[in-house]
């Protein structure tokens, strides 16, 4: 009976061998795939097993971690001034995932990122507890606060940039939310989350980056730039060929101006000062759709911007003639995010150079070693320095002696442009108030800002870029300028 016994022994050997092969396959070959599985709760447990790194503004963390009990997750994210910083940081919830910087920089913040591999390996040997690294932002706390308080209980958004570097200085969106409300995974967190999802005012929408609005008259600076760059006009004080009334091409409609303003053959400077629809509408039509698209794209239109948080692409589409003429005054199918319009103002303020917007200045390892520093980078060159300065002079006239006087700051050169964007079918809804501006000092321009207020509560006739949005822009610029002193 020994021969079959030996065969049975071999059979048992094969069974064990199969198990050994299988365990090698599972734990060596497939380990990474299994660890990355969406259902694998260990990833979440690990993420919250230690203190998360902080997001830092002006050298101070705006976030924190607190220890919790009663669940798998040991640490919970908390925010200081949650509603103020939510549009910058995004949220990081044990139950509902994460967004924006909390999501994009999770590798550093959680300490699990590949960049921190060396630190982790080291702390494995030294026995130190793993913690997360920090994200140092470019934001200016005073400017952010000015923007948030300026918007107050109105719906709207502010984006402010440093034109010289592209650094994001303020990114406010109202109504906002407090990410601390749903950072845990209790019933209370769930209720807060559901309430936010159902809120008709969409508090979790980051209006500064993710909402596109018709840019209204603020777009006229783009049209003016296109006219100068393409040689349609070169002297900003010379008369333009602008009949009044002006009929939209291929149409029987006459383009109207707001009130009776001196727009017939007005110079570029005067036309911008009074915000003449007829002048800029005809200018856009004279340039044609292709040149307008080209100029808009140089300013960053038609492309998503990653700061690294993604901003929706502003749009300047291919269009027919009348639509293109209307787009020249920001009232047709072109749309822009507040960030995009801040980029327009920043490029003009920076003598025509558009810097890539960014909000992560540094990434720090848990031991505060800097592992990444942003280098400023030119995104494009929408204007020559000469033309940029011409547009600057035009915009400065608007603030000194035009529709934007509300943004004047004593002793500082400020350029700006108002906008009142109509929207809705047949202009049925209340318009958006826009204001884009920059401040200039001897050492170049430290701040450019775009403000949009979508205020359904104001009386319709009171809504104007100069009235609602300009004071907010002014306080943001002032906050930045005061900080520089």
């Amino acid at each position: 009976m020994n021969k079959p016994l030996r065969r049975i022994a071999m059979f048992c050997g094969i069974l064990v061998l199969a198990l050994l092969v299988r365990t090698n396959y599972l734990q060596y070959v497939r380990a990474d795939e299994l660890n990355a599985n969406e259902h694998n709760r260990r990833v979440e447990i690990e993420r919250y097993a230690h203190e998360r790194g902080d997001i830092i503004v002006d050298g101070e963390p705006v976030t924190g971690s607190v220890e919790t009990t009663g669940s798998d997750f040991r640490y919970k994210r908390v925010w200081k001034d949650g509603p103020l910083w939510a549009p910058v940081t995004g949220f990081s919830s044990q139950a509902f995932g994460s967004s924006q910087l909390e999501n994009l920089e999770d590798g550093i913040l959680s300490g699990n990122g590949d960049q921190l591999f060396f630190d982790r390996t080291l702390s494995m040997f030294t026995g130190e507890r793993q913690t997360g690294g920090n994200i140092v932002t470019t934001l200016d706390g005073a400017a952010q606060r000015a923007a948030f308080e300026g918007l107050g209980d109105k719906k709207g958004a502010v984006a402010a940039l440093d034109p010289r570097t592209g650094a994001v200085l303020a990114l406010a969106s109202t109504p906002s939310y407090d990410p601390s409300d749903f950072a845990g995974n209790s019933m209370k967190d769930s209720e807060a989350w559901q309430k936010l999802l159902k809120d008709e005012d969409k508090p979790m929408l980051n209006r500064a980056l993710r909402e596109t609005y018709p840019p209204g008259s603020t777009f006229k600076v783009v049209t003016a730039s296109a006219a100068l760059e393409n040689g349609l006009y070169s002297d900003i004080d010379a008369e333009t060929e602008s009949p009044l009334p002006w009929r939209l091409p291929l149409s029987t409609n006459l383009l109207q101006n707001e009130g009776s303003i001196p727009c017939e053959n007005a110079s570029l400077r005067e036309a911008l000062r009074w915000s003449c629809n007829t002048v800029f509408g005809k200018m856009s039509d004279d340039l044609g759709n292709d040149k307008m698209i080209e100029q808009a794209e140089k300013f960053g239109f038609n492309e998503e911007v990653f700061t690294p948080v993604r901003a929706d692409a502003a749009v300047y589409p291919k269009d027919n003639r009348p639509q293109n003429a209307m787009a020249g005054i920001g009232q047709a199918s072109n749309r822009a995010t507040p960030l995009q319009m801040a980029m327009v103002a920043a490029a003009i303020a920076n003598d025509g150079k558009l810097m890539r917007p960014y909000m992560v200045a540094q990434r720090q390892a848990p031991n505060l070693d800097v592992i990444y520093t942003h280098d400023k980078e030119q995104l494009s060159r929408p204007l020559s320095a000469e033309n940029a300065q011409k547009v600057q002079r035009m915009m400065e006239t608007v603030v000194e002696d035009g529709t934007g006087t509300n943004a004047r700051i004593d002793g500082v050169t400020v350029g700006g442009k108002t906008g009142t964007a109509q929207h809705g079918l047949n202009n049925s809804e209340k318009p958006y108030a826009w204001f884009i501006s920059y401040a200039r000092t001897d050492s170049g321009s430290p701040v450019a800002v775009a403000v949009v207020v979508e205020d359904g509560k104001a009386v319709r006739d009171d809504i104007s870029g100069g009235g609602l949005a300009a004071p907010i822009a002014k306080s943001v610029m002032k906050a930045v300028l005061d900080g520089k002193k």
Binding site: C12, L15, L20, T23, Q27, A31, L34, R41, D72
Partner: protein
């Protein structure tokens, strides 16, 4: 014992008993288990656990008592079987104790710490081993109970049908005041006794009286009877108790023993064909079995819909997160698997916390037990002993394969327990008894042959014998 006094060349030279080796290995097994406790305690609370001494002493006592029993009643037994069982039992205790510390379990409504109960069951198991060694002076005595054991096995296998299903399988008997018993574990041993007795008597008839058909020896119809009966019973278990594991074990063991008894390959082909037919047939209408197969084919597809799939997927993720070296005892999250984490799925904890290295070590420990069992069968001098030893070690191997393969997703999950490792009284007691019988057979097998009667001619003529 016996000292060589004659001068024949057939030596009755006293084989080394290896009892001291066994003692050293048992001590080593206890030590490793105590280290495991220390490891869990340090990882979880940063201090040596209070239970470490108790469990360590308990385990040392069990190993010591078992060793003394072997030393006294089975002097020539294989020296590896007892230390291997002690090591697996000890590490199993440490793993169960580790899972007891899980907050996730402690927060559930009907949490009961399992480690202390397991130590009690282990003690009962070792007691049974001592009883086996004490009562069973010779394993051939079991031959007398061939048909009684058949009856007992059938009763044990059929009884759970009359009790309500637990987690989808009717494999439990609930005795008020005593607790639940999983009779399948005991039936495994009893049925091996029956097969050995039956096949020893019938092996010639089964092997020789067959017709040749297409290159294979087909058995005669009247010999086919018992085989068909066994097949039918295993199918019945599958259908009425929805217990895939036991029926597979039961039938697999029968095929193995039949093959060893008859030395005919055709029986294996025959057996595999029948079990395949049975499995496919049952799977086509039994939803419980279908779920298991679905969960096996793609565990992640049924996430959130089929409980078995989710459990399976969680088990795979536990293995995956262990990786090559594991997270370290006490530092994994294998308790995410849920209620079966300390029984059916205990191997997932090994995989997660001890990693690939630990898994391979555990699989080799099991392989060693099987190897010692097969070696015992080879060494046994009587066909009954050979059959019983191969039946027991073969069924042990099949059980390990079915359970480990199941939780690792190699084959569909069947819901049996990992011998010695898993929490569960029936399993640990039955497996200690199994080890006891193997020790008894190996003792008989390795015992030196009695010295031949001194030959009166020996002094006068020297004969060179082949």
């Amino acid at each position: 014992m016996s000292v060589v006094t004659n001068t024949t060349t057939i030596g009755a030279i006293d084989a080394p008993s290896r009892r001291n080796t066994e003692l050293a290995l048992v001590a080593f097994a206890v030590l490793i288990s105590v280290f495991a406790y220390a490891n869990v305690g340090l990882a979880l609370n940063g201090e040596l656990p209070a239970g470490m001494l108790g469990y360590g002493l308990g385990l040392a006592l069990l190993g010591g008592v078992a060793h003394l029993a072997v030393r006294r009643f089975a002097r020539y037994a294989d020296p590896l079987l007892l230390p291997l069982a002690t090591l697996l039992n000890g590490l199993g205790l440490a793993l169960i104790w580790r899972l007891d510390q899980s907050e996730r379990f402690q927060n559930t409504r009907d949490f009961v710490a399992a480690a202390s109960k397991q130590l009690m069951f282990s003690a009962a198991g070792v007691a049974l081993l001592v009883v086996v060694l004490l009562v069973l002076k010779d394993h051939r005595i079991l031959q007398r109970y061939t048909y009684i054991s058949m009856l007992a096995a059938l009763v044990l296998l059929i009884l759970p049908m009359f009790f309500p299903a637990v987690n989808g399988a009717k494999i439990w008997i609930k005795i008020p005041g005593v607790g639940t018993i999983q009779p399948g574990e005991f039936a495994k041993i009893i049925i091996a006794v029956f097969f050995s007795g039956y096949l020893m008597v019938k092996r010639d008839a089964l092997a020789l009286a067959s017709r040749r058909f297409m290159g294979m020896y087909l058995p005669r119809g009247r010999d086919l009877g018992p085989i068909l009966a066994i097949w039918a019973v295993s199918i019945l278990i599958l259908v009425f108790e929805t217990d895939l594991g036991t029926s597979l074990l039961f039938f697999g063991m029968f095929v193995v023993m039949l093959y060893v008894a008859t030395e005919r390959t055709s029986w294996i082909v025959f057996g595999l064909a029948m079990s395949a037919a049975g499995a496919v047939g049952v799977a086509s209408f039994e939803p419980h079995v279908q779920d298991r197969v679905t969960a096996w084919l793609d565990p992640f597809a049924g996430w959130g819909e089929i409980a078995a799939s989710e459990q399976m997927a969680k088990s795979l993720m536990a293995f995956g997160s262990g990786g090559t070296l594991g997270t370290g005892l006490g530092q994994g999250n294998s308790d995410l698997i849920g209620f079966a984490a300390n029984s059916d799925f205990i191997l997932a904890t090994v995989g997660e916390e001890l990693g690939l290295a630990g898994m391979m070590a555990f699989l080799l420990l099991y392989a060693l037990i099987v190897e010692r069992g097969v070696r015992t069968a080879l060494a046994a001098r009587d066909p009954f002993g050979k059959l019983l030893a191969i039946g027991l070690s073969g069924s042990f191997a099949i059980q390990v394969f079915v359970v480990a393969g199941g939780v690792m997703g190699l084959i569909p999950l069947t819901g049996m327990t990992m011998p010695f490792l898993a929490a569960g009284g029936s399993s640990v007691i039955a497996n200690w008894a199994l080890i006891g019988i193997l020790i008894r057979i190996s003792d008989t097998a390795r015992r030196p042959a009695p010295a031949p009667a001194p030959s009166p001619d020996a002094e006068m003529t020297q004969v060179v014998r082949p």
